[in-house]
Symmetry: C2
Subunit: 124 residues, 2 copies
């Protein structure tokens, strides 16, 4: 196989794996928990051990593959659903702290099983 064909093949494989898993995740997270994949991934970051308390919108942007505007709206969506709270940041009043609510922890814990099931099924 030529070098070009090899590259294309690698990319198509990547695209194919990604699409299958992403569509499936989206489907089951939406149906089972009312979350988009981005919603779940953001919640997941909020609840990771390293992030306890220190998470600002910008931190989420840095960790995820989303634009700042998309992240802002994701947080807004989560807040609207009562899964997170937005709070002013004392040390930098431009910043916004995002903290999970009890409901957020609960939904995340439930969705985590669904999420891992899909991953196990497609990557296991």
């Amino acid at each position: 196989m030529s070098a070009d064909a090899e590259l294309i093949d690698r990319w198509r494989t990547l695209l194919s794996q990604y699409s299958r898993i992403a569509h499936e995740l989206d489907r089951v997270l939406q149906a089972g928990h009312g979350l988009t994949v981005s919603d779940y991934e953001a919640l997941d970051r909020l609840l990771s051990d390293e992030n306890r308390g220190k998470v600002r919108v910008q931190d989420l942007v840095d960790e995820m593959h989303l634009s700042q505007s998309a992240m802002s709206r994701t947080v807004a969506r989560l807040e609207k659903c009562g899964l997170v709270c937005r709070g002013m940041c004392d040390t930098d009043r431009r910043g916004v702290f995002v903290t999970p609510t009890e409901a957020g922890r609960k939904v995340h814990a439930e969705a985590r099983r669904t999420y891992l099931d899909v991953l196990a099924q497609h990557l296991g």
Copy 2:
């Protein structure tokens, strides 16, 4: 590492690779040739050797990771740009044949270099 953490790591890696490449492809294809990634991938299928002449919208749906409606609009977009033609299918009058125009071949040939450059840079 636990099995769960292993799965998550694999997924995050996949997501990360995909996002980086897809964003970059989208950026350069859009800037250089006015094409979305889906536009390019569709054109590419139309011009592949196996597909000479026999490509219908449904064939593209089968080969790509797009819904039928998205594919329909992608073809409409390409037609609007003068890169493909839609024609009736004689044997099945529900079907629509899609064929590349000369402009379509030209744009595809130019975009192919851009596309392969990005792939080489990220996967090479």
